[in-house]
Amino acid sequence: MEYLYGIVIIVGLYVILATSFNLIIGYGGLVSIAHPVFFALGAYTSAILSRDFHVPVLLAMLAGFFVALVASIALALPSLRVSGDYLLIASIGFQLGVLELIKNVRFTGGPGGFTNIPPFLIREFGRESYVLLVLAVVAAVIVLVWWIARSDYGRAMSAMRDDELAFASVGRDAMWMKIAIFGLGSGLAGLAGGLYAHYFRFITPEQFEILQSSAILTMVVVGGMRTTWGPVVGALLLQALPQAISFLQLPPSVLGPIQGLLFTGLVLVFMFFRPQGLVSAKNVWRAAPAAKARGAR
Protein backbone atom coordinates (compact mmCIF):
# COMPACT_ATOMS: atom_id res chain seq x y z
CA MET A 1 0.00 0.00 0.00
CA GLU A 2 2.79 2.40 0.84
CA TYR A 3 4.14 2.03 -2.69
CA LEU A 4 0.72 2.82 -4.13
CA TYR A 5 0.31 5.86 -1.88
CA GLY A 6 3.68 7.10 -3.06
CA ILE A 7 2.59 6.80 -6.69
CA VAL A 8 -0.76 8.51 -6.05
CA ILE A 9 1.02 11.39 -4.35
CA ILE A 10 3.63 11.76 -7.10
CA VAL A 11 0.99 11.67 -9.82
CA GLY A 12 -1.12 14.15 -7.87
CA LEU A 13 1.79 16.54 -7.49
CA TYR A 14 2.51 16.33 -11.22
CA VAL A 15 -1.13 17.12 -11.91
CA ILE A 16 -0.62 20.28 -9.83
CA LEU A 17 2.61 21.07 -11.69
CA ALA A 18 1.09 20.46 -15.12
CA THR A 19 -2.12 22.33 -14.32
CA SER A 20 -0.26 25.34 -12.97
CA PHE A 21 2.12 25.26 -15.93
CA ASN A 22 -0.91 25.14 -18.22
CA LEU A 23 -1.99 28.42 -16.66
CA ILE A 24 1.39 29.92 -17.54
CA ILE A 25 2.06 28.52 -21.00
CA GLY A 26 -1.46 27.71 -22.16
CA TYR A 27 -3.63 30.52 -20.86
CA GLY A 28 -0.90 33.10 -20.33
CA GLY A 29 1.06 32.26 -23.47
CA LEU A 30 4.27 32.59 -21.45
CA VAL A 31 7.15 30.30 -22.28
CA SER A 32 9.36 29.38 -19.35
CA ILE A 33 11.35 26.31 -18.46
CA ALA A 34 11.82 27.22 -14.81
CA HIS A 35 8.76 25.44 -13.43
CA PRO A 36 10.80 22.73 -11.61
CA VAL A 37 12.86 25.39 -9.87
CA PHE A 38 9.74 26.91 -8.32
CA PHE A 39 8.79 23.39 -7.28
CA ALA A 40 12.27 23.19 -5.70
CA LEU A 41 11.99 26.60 -4.03
CA GLY A 42 8.73 25.53 -2.41
CA ALA A 43 10.19 22.21 -1.29
CA TYR A 44 13.39 23.69 0.15
CA THR A 45 11.64 26.65 1.79
CA SER A 46 9.14 24.42 3.52
CA ALA A 47 11.75 21.82 4.49
CA ILE A 48 14.26 24.33 5.88
CA LEU A 49 11.70 26.40 7.76
CA SER A 50 10.09 23.39 9.41
CA ARG A 51 13.24 21.43 10.26
CA ASP A 52 15.74 24.16 11.15
CA PHE A 53 13.42 26.94 12.32
CA HIS A 54 10.63 24.78 13.79
CA VAL A 55 7.93 26.57 11.83
CA PRO A 56 4.68 24.54 11.80
CA VAL A 57 4.57 22.48 8.61
CA LEU A 58 1.37 24.01 7.29
CA LEU A 59 2.81 27.51 7.65
CA ALA A 60 6.08 26.35 6.12
CA MET A 61 4.21 25.00 3.06
CA LEU A 62 2.41 28.32 2.67
CA ALA A 63 5.77 30.07 2.93
CA GLY A 64 6.98 27.78 0.12
CA PHE A 65 4.07 29.00 -2.00
CA PHE A 66 4.96 32.64 -1.31
CA VAL A 67 8.71 32.24 -1.85
CA ALA A 68 8.05 30.65 -5.26
CA LEU A 69 5.54 33.40 -6.05
CA VAL A 70 7.89 36.23 -5.07
CA ALA A 71 10.87 34.64 -6.85
CA SER A 72 8.83 34.21 -10.02
CA ILE A 73 7.74 37.85 -9.96
CA ALA A 74 11.37 38.89 -9.45
CA LEU A 75 12.23 36.85 -12.54
CA ALA A 76 9.29 37.99 -14.67
CA LEU A 77 9.30 41.68 -13.83
CA PRO A 78 12.57 42.66 -15.51
CA SER A 79 12.29 40.19 -18.40
CA LEU A 80 8.66 40.89 -19.32
CA ARG A 81 9.43 44.61 -19.41
CA VAL A 82 11.56 43.80 -22.43
CA SER A 83 9.52 41.06 -24.12
CA GLY A 84 8.11 37.58 -23.72
CA ASP A 85 11.16 36.02 -25.38
CA TYR A 86 13.36 37.33 -22.60
CA LEU A 87 11.34 35.44 -20.04
CA LEU A 88 12.36 32.18 -21.73
CA ILE A 89 16.02 33.16 -21.76
CA ALA A 90 15.91 34.43 -18.19
CA SER A 91 14.07 31.30 -17.05
CA ILE A 92 16.86 29.08 -18.41
CA GLY A 93 19.44 31.04 -16.44
CA PHE A 94 17.22 31.02 -13.38
CA GLN A 95 16.59 27.27 -13.57
CA LEU A 96 20.30 26.47 -13.83
CA GLY A 97 21.48 29.19 -11.47
CA VAL A 98 19.17 28.50 -8.54
CA LEU A 99 19.96 24.76 -8.65
CA GLU A 100 23.70 25.56 -8.65
CA LEU A 101 23.11 27.79 -5.67
CA ILE A 102 21.23 25.06 -3.83
CA LYS A 103 24.11 22.68 -4.53
CA ASN A 104 26.68 25.12 -3.23
CA VAL A 105 25.31 26.56 -0.02
CA ARG A 106 25.38 24.75 3.28
CA PHE A 107 21.89 25.33 4.66
CA THR A 108 20.27 23.42 1.78
CA GLY A 109 22.35 20.32 2.41
CA GLY A 110 24.27 20.88 -0.83
CA PRO A 111 24.39 18.28 -3.61
CA GLY A 112 23.81 15.48 -1.09
CA GLY A 113 20.31 16.72 -0.43
CA PHE A 114 18.26 17.84 2.53
CA THR A 115 17.31 15.05 4.88
CA ASN A 116 15.13 14.41 7.88
CA ILE A 117 12.34 16.75 6.84
CA PRO A 118 9.58 16.73 9.48
CA PRO A 119 6.60 14.61 8.46
CA PHE A 120 3.10 16.02 8.38
CA LEU A 121 -0.17 14.32 9.37
CA ILE A 122 1.24 10.81 8.84
CA ARG A 123 2.22 10.11 12.44
CA GLU A 124 -1.08 11.31 13.82
CA PHE A 125 -3.52 10.19 11.14
CA GLY A 126 -1.70 7.70 8.94
CA ARG A 127 -0.50 7.89 5.35
CA GLU A 128 -4.06 7.94 4.02
CA SER A 129 -4.59 11.37 5.50
CA TYR A 130 -1.65 12.75 3.53
CA VAL A 131 -2.97 11.17 0.34
CA LEU A 132 -6.30 12.87 0.99
CA LEU A 133 -4.56 16.19 1.63
CA VAL A 134 -2.73 15.95 -1.70
CA LEU A 135 -5.86 14.94 -3.57
CA ALA A 136 -7.75 17.84 -1.98
CA VAL A 137 -5.07 20.29 -3.10
CA VAL A 138 -5.08 18.72 -6.58
CA ALA A 139 -8.83 19.22 -6.82
CA ALA A 140 -8.56 22.77 -5.51
CA VAL A 141 -5.86 23.66 -8.06
CA ILE A 142 -7.84 22.19 -10.96
CA VAL A 143 -10.97 24.10 -9.88
CA LEU A 144 -8.97 27.29 -9.36
CA VAL A 145 -7.44 27.27 -12.85
CA TRP A 146 -10.78 26.28 -14.40
CA TRP A 147 -12.51 29.10 -12.54
CA ILE A 148 -9.94 31.68 -13.62
CA ALA A 149 -10.01 30.54 -17.25
CA ARG A 150 -13.76 30.92 -17.57
CA SER A 151 -14.02 34.14 -15.55
CA ASP A 152 -13.68 37.73 -16.75
CA TYR A 153 -9.96 37.16 -16.26
CA GLY A 154 -10.08 34.30 -18.74
CA ARG A 155 -11.76 36.56 -21.26
CA ALA A 156 -8.92 39.04 -20.81
CA MET A 157 -6.25 36.33 -21.11
CA SER A 158 -7.85 35.17 -24.34
CA ALA A 159 -7.87 38.71 -25.73
CA MET A 160 -4.29 39.28 -24.65
CA ARG A 161 -3.12 36.13 -26.47
CA ASP A 162 -5.04 37.16 -29.58
CA ASP A 163 -3.46 40.57 -29.98
CA GLU A 164 -1.41 42.43 -27.40
CA LEU A 165 -1.49 45.78 -29.15
CA ALA A 166 -5.27 45.63 -29.47
CA PHE A 167 -5.35 44.59 -25.80
CA ALA A 168 -3.49 47.79 -24.91
CA SER A 169 -5.83 49.77 -27.16
CA VAL A 170 -8.78 48.85 -24.92
CA GLY A 171 -6.87 50.10 -21.89
CA ARG A 172 -5.61 46.79 -20.54
CA ASP A 173 -2.09 46.19 -19.32
CA ALA A 174 -0.67 42.94 -20.68
CA MET A 175 2.54 43.08 -18.65
CA TRP A 176 0.96 43.02 -15.20
CA MET A 177 -1.49 40.40 -16.29
CA LYS A 178 1.38 38.17 -17.41
CA ILE A 179 3.23 38.77 -14.16
CA ALA A 180 0.16 37.82 -12.14
CA ILE A 181 -0.34 34.64 -14.17
CA PHE A 182 3.31 33.70 -13.89
CA GLY A 183 3.34 34.46 -10.17
CA LEU A 184 0.27 32.40 -9.36
CA GLY A 185 1.33 29.47 -11.56
CA SER A 186 4.80 29.41 -10.04
CA GLY A 187 3.42 29.78 -6.51
CA LEU A 188 1.29 26.67 -7.06
CA ALA A 189 4.42 24.80 -8.14
CA GLY A 190 5.99 25.92 -4.86
CA LEU A 191 3.01 24.56 -2.96
CA ALA A 192 3.49 21.21 -4.72
CA GLY A 193 7.12 21.35 -3.58
CA GLY A 194 6.11 21.65 0.06
CA LEU A 195 3.70 18.74 -0.29
CA TYR A 196 6.48 16.66 -1.81
CA ALA A 197 9.03 17.50 0.87
CA HIS A 198 6.94 16.54 3.89
CA TYR A 199 5.87 13.21 2.50
CA PHE A 200 9.10 11.85 1.07
CA ARG A 201 11.15 13.76 3.69
CA PHE A 202 14.24 13.91 1.50
CA ILE A 203 15.00 16.25 -1.37
CA THR A 204 18.03 16.64 -3.61
CA PRO A 205 18.78 19.30 -6.21
CA GLU A 206 18.95 16.78 -9.04
CA GLN A 207 15.25 15.98 -8.65
CA PHE A 208 14.47 19.43 -9.99
CA GLU A 209 16.72 19.47 -13.02
CA ILE A 210 15.90 20.34 -16.58
CA LEU A 211 14.53 16.85 -17.34
CA GLN A 212 11.60 17.86 -15.14
CA SER A 213 11.02 20.93 -17.31
CA SER A 214 10.61 18.74 -20.36
CA ALA A 215 8.43 16.30 -18.41
CA ILE A 216 6.03 19.04 -17.30
CA LEU A 217 6.01 20.66 -20.73
CA THR A 218 5.29 17.29 -22.33
CA MET A 219 2.40 16.67 -19.94
CA VAL A 220 0.77 19.94 -20.90
CA VAL A 221 1.41 19.70 -24.65
CA VAL A 222 0.50 16.03 -24.99
CA GLY A 223 -2.47 16.34 -22.64
CA GLY A 224 -3.82 19.46 -24.30
CA MET A 225 -3.01 23.09 -23.58
CA ARG A 226 -5.72 25.44 -22.42
CA THR A 227 -7.99 22.64 -21.29
CA THR A 228 -8.97 21.65 -17.77
CA TRP A 229 -8.38 17.93 -18.21
CA GLY A 230 -5.49 17.97 -20.66
CA PRO A 231 -2.75 18.46 -18.05
CA VAL A 232 -4.41 15.86 -15.82
CA VAL A 233 -4.43 13.28 -18.60
CA GLY A 234 -0.89 14.27 -19.57
CA ALA A 235 0.40 13.93 -16.01
CA LEU A 236 -1.24 10.52 -15.56
CA LEU A 237 0.09 9.25 -18.87
CA LEU A 238 3.60 10.54 -18.44
CA GLN A 239 3.86 9.22 -14.93
CA ALA A 240 2.60 5.83 -16.02
CA LEU A 241 5.13 5.72 -18.83
CA PRO A 242 8.33 5.71 -16.71
CA GLN A 243 6.71 3.16 -14.40
CA ALA A 244 6.09 0.99 -17.46
CA ILE A 245 9.67 1.40 -18.66
CA SER A 246 10.98 0.49 -15.24
CA PHE A 247 9.62 -3.02 -15.80
CA LEU A 248 12.15 -3.35 -18.58
CA GLN A 249 14.76 -3.28 -15.80
CA LEU A 250 17.12 -0.97 -17.59
CA PRO A 251 20.07 0.36 -15.60
CA PRO A 252 19.42 3.84 -14.11
CA SER A 253 22.19 5.36 -16.23
CA VAL A 254 20.18 4.53 -19.34
CA LEU A 255 16.73 5.12 -17.88
CA GLY A 256 17.19 8.89 -17.37
CA PRO A 257 18.29 9.68 -20.93
CA ILE A 258 15.62 7.36 -22.35
CA GLN A 259 12.95 9.26 -20.43
CA GLY A 260 14.29 12.55 -21.76
CA LEU A 261 14.25 11.24 -25.33
CA LEU A 262 10.77 9.88 -24.83
CA PHE A 263 9.42 13.21 -23.60
CA THR A 264 11.03 15.15 -26.42
CA GLY A 265 9.93 12.55 -28.96
CA LEU A 266 6.36 12.70 -27.71
CA VAL A 267 6.26 16.49 -27.95
CA LEU A 268 7.59 16.32 -31.52
CA VAL A 269 5.15 13.60 -32.55
CA PHE A 270 2.23 15.51 -31.08
CA MET A 271 3.30 18.80 -32.63
CA PHE A 272 3.17 17.18 -36.04
CA PHE A 273 0.17 14.91 -35.75
CA ARG A 274 -2.02 16.28 -33.01
CA PRO A 275 -0.90 19.79 -32.02
CA GLN A 276 -4.00 20.33 -29.92
CA GLY A 277 -3.02 17.44 -27.63
CA LEU A 278 -5.15 14.53 -26.45
CA VAL A 279 -7.83 16.81 -25.03
CA SER A 280 -8.31 19.55 -27.58
CA ALA A 281 -9.15 23.14 -26.72
CA LYS A 282 -11.58 25.09 -28.88
CA ASN A 283 -10.27 28.18 -30.62
CA VAL A 284 -12.98 30.08 -28.83
CA TRP A 285 -12.90 31.31 -25.29
CA ARG A 286 -14.78 28.56 -23.50
CA ALA A 287 -16.97 30.57 -21.19
CA ALA A 288 -18.80 32.31 -23.99
CA PRO A 289 -22.18 30.62 -23.40
CA ALA A 290 -23.99 31.64 -26.54
CA ALA A 291 -21.12 30.69 -28.81
CA LYS A 292 -21.09 27.33 -27.13
CA ALA A 293 -24.82 26.87 -27.57
CA ARG A 294 -24.52 27.63 -31.25
CA GLY A 295 -21.79 25.07 -31.49
CA ALA A 296 -19.38 27.68 -32.78
CA ARG A 297 -15.94 26.35 -33.27
Binding site: S151, D152, A159, L165, A166, S169, A180, L184
Partner: protein, 252 residues
Protein backbone atom coordinates in the same frame (compact mmCIF):
# COMPACT_ATOMS: atom_id res chain seq x y z
CA UNK B 1 -14.09 75.44 -27.81
CA UNK B 2 -11.55 73.68 -25.63
CA UNK B 3 -8.88 71.52 -27.21
CA UNK B 4 -9.31 67.94 -26.05
CA UNK B 5 -6.19 66.74 -27.75
CA UNK B 6 -3.26 68.90 -28.64
CA UNK B 7 -0.24 67.79 -30.63
CA UNK B 8 2.72 70.15 -30.32
CA UNK B 9 5.68 70.17 -32.64
CA UNK B 10 5.75 66.40 -32.98
CA UNK B 11 8.62 64.91 -35.01
CA UNK B 12 9.68 61.37 -35.76
CA UNK B 13 11.87 59.70 -38.31
CA UNK B 14 12.85 56.08 -38.89
CA UNK B 15 16.36 55.73 -40.31
CA UNK B 16 16.12 59.05 -42.06
CA UNK B 17 12.56 58.55 -43.31
CA UNK B 18 10.49 61.32 -41.79
CA UNK B 19 7.00 60.25 -40.72
CA UNK B 20 6.22 63.36 -38.68
CA UNK B 21 7.70 66.81 -39.27
CA UNK B 22 6.91 69.44 -36.61
CA UNK B 23 3.27 68.45 -36.54
CA UNK B 24 0.88 70.77 -34.68
CA UNK B 25 -2.69 69.64 -34.42
CA UNK B 26 -5.64 70.31 -32.16
CA UNK B 27 -8.88 68.34 -31.82
CA UNK B 28 -11.92 70.00 -30.32
CA UNK B 29 -14.77 68.51 -28.39
CA UNK B 30 -17.77 67.74 -30.59
CA UNK B 31 -15.92 68.16 -33.87
CA UNK B 32 -14.81 65.67 -36.49
CA UNK B 33 -11.50 66.34 -38.17
CA UNK B 34 -10.60 64.52 -41.36
CA UNK B 35 -6.96 63.64 -41.89
CA UNK B 36 -6.31 63.15 -45.57
CA UNK B 37 -3.28 62.65 -47.73
CA UNK B 38 -1.66 60.01 -49.94
CA UNK B 39 -0.34 56.70 -48.68
CA UNK B 40 2.86 57.16 -46.74
CA UNK B 41 1.97 60.71 -45.70
CA UNK B 42 2.32 59.74 -42.03
CA UNK B 43 -1.35 59.65 -41.02
CA UNK B 44 -1.29 56.30 -39.24
CA UNK B 45 2.16 57.11 -37.86
CA UNK B 46 0.68 60.25 -36.32
CA UNK B 47 -1.97 58.08 -34.62
CA UNK B 48 0.75 55.76 -33.36
CA UNK B 49 2.69 58.72 -31.98
CA UNK B 50 -0.40 60.14 -30.28
CA UNK B 51 -1.17 56.77 -28.69
CA UNK B 52 2.36 56.15 -27.50
CA UNK B 53 2.80 53.04 -29.64
CA UNK B 54 5.75 54.86 -31.17
CA UNK B 55 7.88 57.34 -29.20
CA UNK B 56 8.42 60.72 -30.84
CA UNK B 57 11.90 62.17 -31.42
CA UNK B 58 10.60 65.54 -30.32
CA UNK B 59 7.37 67.23 -29.38
CA UNK B 60 4.56 66.42 -27.04
CA UNK B 61 0.92 65.35 -26.94
CA UNK B 62 -1.56 66.79 -24.44
CA UNK B 63 -4.90 65.30 -23.49
CA UNK B 64 -7.18 67.78 -21.72
CA UNK B 65 -4.13 69.98 -21.24
CA UNK B 66 -2.05 67.32 -19.48
CA UNK B 67 1.07 66.04 -21.27
CA UNK B 68 1.07 62.33 -22.08
CA UNK B 69 4.87 62.01 -22.20
CA UNK B 70 6.10 58.76 -20.70
CA UNK B 71 2.63 57.27 -20.46
CA UNK B 72 2.11 53.89 -22.04
CA UNK B 73 -0.54 53.17 -24.64
CA UNK B 74 -2.97 51.48 -22.24
CA UNK B 75 -2.58 54.33 -19.73
CA UNK B 76 -3.40 56.88 -22.42
CA UNK B 77 -6.47 54.85 -23.32
CA UNK B 78 -7.55 54.83 -19.67
CA UNK B 79 -7.03 58.59 -19.71
CA UNK B 80 -9.64 59.01 -22.42
CA UNK B 81 -7.87 58.39 -25.71
CA UNK B 82 -9.30 55.73 -27.96
CA UNK B 83 -8.46 54.46 -31.40
CA UNK B 84 -9.43 51.94 -34.03
CA UNK B 85 -7.20 50.14 -36.48
CA UNK B 86 -7.06 50.07 -40.23
CA UNK B 87 -7.14 46.25 -40.11
CA UNK B 88 -9.71 45.91 -37.29
CA UNK B 89 -7.43 44.07 -34.80
CA UNK B 90 -10.38 42.46 -33.06
CA UNK B 91 -10.04 39.49 -30.72
CA UNK B 92 -10.86 36.51 -32.97
CA UNK B 93 -11.21 34.03 -30.11
CA UNK B 94 -14.01 36.06 -28.56
CA UNK B 95 -17.63 36.56 -29.61
CA UNK B 96 -18.69 40.06 -30.65
CA UNK B 97 -20.15 40.96 -27.25
CA UNK B 98 -17.00 39.85 -25.42
CA UNK B 99 -14.86 41.93 -27.77
CA UNK B 100 -16.78 44.90 -26.40
CA UNK B 101 -16.95 43.82 -22.75
CA UNK B 102 -13.16 43.73 -22.55
CA UNK B 103 -13.04 47.41 -23.54
CA UNK B 104 -14.81 49.06 -20.61
CA UNK B 105 -12.94 51.88 -18.89
CA UNK B 106 -12.76 49.98 -15.63
CA UNK B 107 -12.49 46.21 -16.01
CA UNK B 108 -12.37 44.68 -12.53
CA UNK B 109 -11.95 41.23 -14.08
CA UNK B 110 -8.39 42.16 -15.03
CA UNK B 111 -7.38 41.76 -11.38
CA UNK B 112 -7.02 38.19 -10.20
CA UNK B 113 -8.01 39.20 -6.70
CA UNK B 114 -11.46 40.30 -7.92
CA UNK B 115 -11.90 37.06 -9.82
CA UNK B 116 -11.22 35.10 -6.65
CA UNK B 117 -12.87 37.26 -4.01
CA UNK B 118 -15.02 39.87 -5.74
CA UNK B 119 -17.60 37.91 -7.68
CA UNK B 120 -20.44 40.27 -6.70
CA UNK B 121 -18.50 43.26 -7.98
CA UNK B 122 -17.75 41.48 -11.25
CA UNK B 123 -21.40 40.60 -11.72
CA UNK B 124 -22.54 44.16 -11.10
CA UNK B 125 -19.95 45.49 -13.53
CA UNK B 126 -20.83 42.88 -16.13
CA UNK B 127 -24.48 43.88 -16.10
CA UNK B 128 -23.74 47.56 -16.71
CA UNK B 129 -21.12 46.77 -19.36
CA UNK B 130 -23.39 44.32 -21.15
CA UNK B 131 -26.20 46.89 -21.36
CA UNK B 132 -23.81 49.44 -22.75
CA UNK B 133 -22.35 46.98 -25.27
CA UNK B 134 -25.77 45.84 -26.46
CA UNK B 135 -26.83 49.48 -26.80
CA UNK B 136 -23.83 50.24 -28.99
CA UNK B 137 -24.32 47.11 -31.07
CA UNK B 138 -27.99 48.03 -31.50
CA UNK B 139 -27.04 51.46 -32.85
CA UNK B 140 -24.77 49.79 -35.36
CA UNK B 141 -27.42 47.29 -36.41
CA UNK B 142 -25.38 44.45 -34.95
CA UNK B 143 -27.63 43.40 -32.05
CA UNK B 144 -28.47 40.15 -33.84
CA UNK B 145 -24.87 39.02 -34.09
CA UNK B 146 -23.78 39.85 -30.53
CA UNK B 147 -23.04 36.22 -29.75
CA UNK B 148 -21.35 35.38 -33.06
CA UNK B 149 -17.63 35.07 -33.37
CA UNK B 150 -16.16 38.26 -34.81
CA UNK B 151 -14.24 36.32 -37.41
CA UNK B 152 -17.56 34.99 -38.79
CA UNK B 153 -18.84 38.50 -39.57
CA UNK B 154 -18.47 40.25 -42.94
CA UNK B 155 -15.55 42.67 -42.98
CA UNK B 156 -17.72 45.77 -42.93
CA UNK B 157 -19.43 44.60 -39.74
CA UNK B 158 -16.06 43.81 -38.20
CA UNK B 159 -15.07 47.42 -38.77
CA UNK B 160 -18.21 48.52 -36.94
CA UNK B 161 -17.38 46.18 -34.05
CA UNK B 162 -13.95 47.82 -33.92
CA UNK B 163 -15.56 51.24 -33.55
CA UNK B 164 -18.04 49.94 -30.98
CA UNK B 165 -15.18 48.43 -28.97
CA UNK B 166 -13.34 51.76 -29.05
CA UNK B 167 -16.46 53.47 -27.69
CA UNK B 168 -16.83 51.19 -24.65
CA UNK B 169 -14.22 53.04 -22.64
CA UNK B 170 -15.77 56.54 -22.31
CA UNK B 171 -13.31 58.16 -24.72
CA UNK B 172 -12.88 61.93 -24.83
CA UNK B 173 -10.96 61.66 -28.04
CA UNK B 174 -11.50 59.06 -30.74
CA UNK B 175 -9.02 58.33 -33.52
CA UNK B 176 -10.46 56.33 -36.42
CA UNK B 177 -7.98 54.77 -38.82
CA UNK B 178 -9.64 54.24 -42.20
CA UNK B 179 -13.02 53.23 -40.80
CA UNK B 180 -14.52 52.97 -44.28
CA UNK B 181 -11.87 50.84 -45.98
CA UNK B 182 -13.69 47.68 -47.02
CA UNK B 183 -17.05 48.95 -45.73
CA UNK B 184 -20.09 49.16 -47.97
CA UNK B 185 -23.87 48.97 -47.96
CA UNK B 186 -25.67 49.21 -44.65
CA UNK B 187 -22.47 49.33 -42.66
CA UNK B 188 -21.55 52.53 -44.53
CA UNK B 189 -24.65 54.37 -43.36
CA UNK B 190 -24.32 52.96 -39.83
CA UNK B 191 -20.72 54.16 -39.61
CA UNK B 192 -21.70 57.68 -40.72
CA UNK B 193 -24.52 57.86 -38.21
CA UNK B 194 -22.58 56.48 -35.28
CA UNK B 195 -19.51 58.68 -35.74
CA UNK B 196 -21.72 61.74 -36.02
CA UNK B 197 -23.57 60.78 -32.84
CA UNK B 198 -20.32 60.24 -31.02
CA UNK B 199 -19.11 63.70 -32.00
CA UNK B 200 -22.41 65.26 -30.98
CA UNK B 201 -22.04 63.69 -27.55
CA UNK B 202 -18.92 65.84 -27.10
CA UNK B 203 -16.12 63.53 -28.18
CA UNK B 204 -13.30 64.96 -30.30
CA UNK B 205 -12.97 62.76 -33.38
CA UNK B 206 -10.19 62.46 -35.91
CA UNK B 207 -10.66 60.31 -39.00
CA UNK B 208 -7.98 59.07 -41.36
CA UNK B 209 -9.80 58.17 -44.54
CA UNK B 210 -9.25 57.78 -48.27
CA UNK B 211 -12.96 57.77 -49.02
CA UNK B 212 -13.27 61.48 -49.76
CA UNK B 213 -17.05 61.36 -50.04
CA UNK B 214 -17.21 60.01 -46.50
CA UNK B 215 -14.82 62.67 -45.24
CA UNK B 216 -16.79 65.32 -47.06
CA UNK B 217 -20.10 64.24 -45.55
CA UNK B 218 -18.82 63.66 -42.05
CA UNK B 219 -16.00 66.01 -41.18
CA UNK B 220 -16.31 69.57 -39.94
CA UNK B 221 -12.82 70.29 -41.09
CA UNK B 222 -9.92 68.65 -42.90
CA UNK B 223 -6.17 68.51 -42.62
CA UNK B 224 -3.95 67.55 -45.51
CA UNK B 225 -0.77 65.67 -44.72
CA UNK B 226 2.12 64.96 -47.00
CA UNK B 227 5.51 63.47 -46.23
CA UNK B 228 5.02 63.76 -42.48
CA UNK B 229 4.02 67.40 -42.54
CA UNK B 230 0.70 69.20 -42.37
CA UNK B 231 0.32 71.10 -45.64
CA UNK B 232 -3.09 72.69 -45.16
CA UNK B 233 -6.07 72.91 -42.88
CA UNK B 234 -9.53 74.01 -43.94
CA UNK B 235 -12.93 72.81 -45.02
CA UNK B 236 -12.85 69.48 -46.85
CA UNK B 237 -14.32 71.14 -49.93
CA UNK B 238 -11.51 73.69 -49.99
CA UNK B 239 -8.84 71.03 -49.60
CA UNK B 240 -10.21 68.80 -52.33
CA UNK B 241 -10.54 71.75 -54.70
CA UNK B 242 -6.95 72.89 -54.19
CA UNK B 243 -5.06 71.91 -57.39
CA UNK B 244 -1.70 71.74 -55.60
CA UNK B 245 -2.97 69.30 -52.97
CA UNK B 246 -4.78 67.26 -55.59
CA UNK B 247 -1.52 66.88 -57.44
CA UNK B 248 0.26 65.78 -54.25
CA UNK B 249 -2.53 63.29 -53.53
CA UNK B 250 -2.61 61.69 -56.96
CA UNK B 251 1.00 62.26 -58.00
CA UNK B 252 1.93 63.20 -61.51
Amino acid sequence: MADVLEVRNLSKSFDGIVVARNVDLALQSGRVLGLIGPNGAGKTSLFNLICGVVRPDAGTVLLDGAPLDGKKFHQRVRGGLSRTWQHTRLFPSLPVIDNLLIGTHDYPGAQLVNVLFGTARLKAHDKVARDKALGLLGKMGLAGVADDLVSDLPYGQQKLVGVARALMGDAKCLLLDEPMAGVEGQAYAAMQRVVREVAESGVAVCVVEHNIAFVHDLCDEGVFMFSGAIMARGSVAELTRDPQLTELYFGH
